[in-house]
Symmetry: C2
Subunit: 150 residues, 2 copies
């Protein structure tokens, strides 16, 4: 089956996000660290980096570190932002276990646009402050409602 | 870049969903109709159908109609169910335009499990009945909150 553009951009976003996280954590990103983080083979990383370099999203010379270009950084930050908006909603409002919220946010982050992410964020904040916070529904009742089998 | 299992299962779910919709609408599903619906080339459909047949998810003999097997139907219904839970939430609670909600639900449906879909549904119902319904927040104020730029 042919890979489609959506699948491709999704994978590329994953790579940008990984480089972003590694740069933050270790100051630099290496092929091996990216492969470990994304649980993929090193040749896959090299292939992805080549595409990202052609798109001017990363800086990379053979056997050196990989770093995000300015545009690459903007995209990586947008992905991170969508990720955290989704994870917060899944974990704090839908009360999904943290690990599940993390895994599903990782996949959903590529499916939504920044506008939707912002609305998820507004919804989470309103719900916490004005619904749970003002005891329109108390936490125990909310847990019962949200986990009820239908 | 190598296609990964997630991408593959996502595409296959799209095919199952398309066959489900065509069977519902036209009683039968044909390669050409699937290609039109998913906006892909006919050889891609044939390739996908072959994989689905090997997995016993569809019934198909060359030049005949395609139909879902019992397992295929169960999966297609699950995808449809996740789709409608997400679309309802995006459209009715986050007030996304219908077309955007439809497009994003189409992508998100593959990223969440049935449990998360059920919680989205419970959240939508609660919000409509007990928050908007009981005027904890009136629709005009909600629109302002949810569309506010941050």
């Amino acid at each position: 089956m042919k890979i489609n553009t959506d699948d491709l951009s999704r994978s590329l976003e994953d790579y940008l996000e990984a480089i972003y996280q590694l740069e933050k954590k270790n100051r630099v990103a290496r092929v091996k660290d990216i492969a470990d983080l994304l649980n993929v083979q090193m040749p896959s990383v090299t292939g992805a980096i080549k595409i990202l370099k052609n798109k001017n999203l990363v800086n990379y010379e053979k056997n050196s570190f990989i770093s995000l270009s300015e545009t690459g950084l903007t995209i990586a930050e947008s992905v991170q932002n969508r990720h955290s908006a989704l994870k917060d909603f899944l974990e704090k409002i839908l009360l999904m276990p943290s690990k599940t919220a993390e895994d599903q946010a990782c996949k959903m982050e590529h499916a939504i646009d920044p506008e939707t992410a912002m609305r998820f964020r507004s919804c989470t904040r309103f719900f916490r402050e004005e619904v749970l916070g003002k005891k329109i529904v108390d936490p125990a009742r909310w847990k019962k409602i949200i986990t009820a089998k239908q």
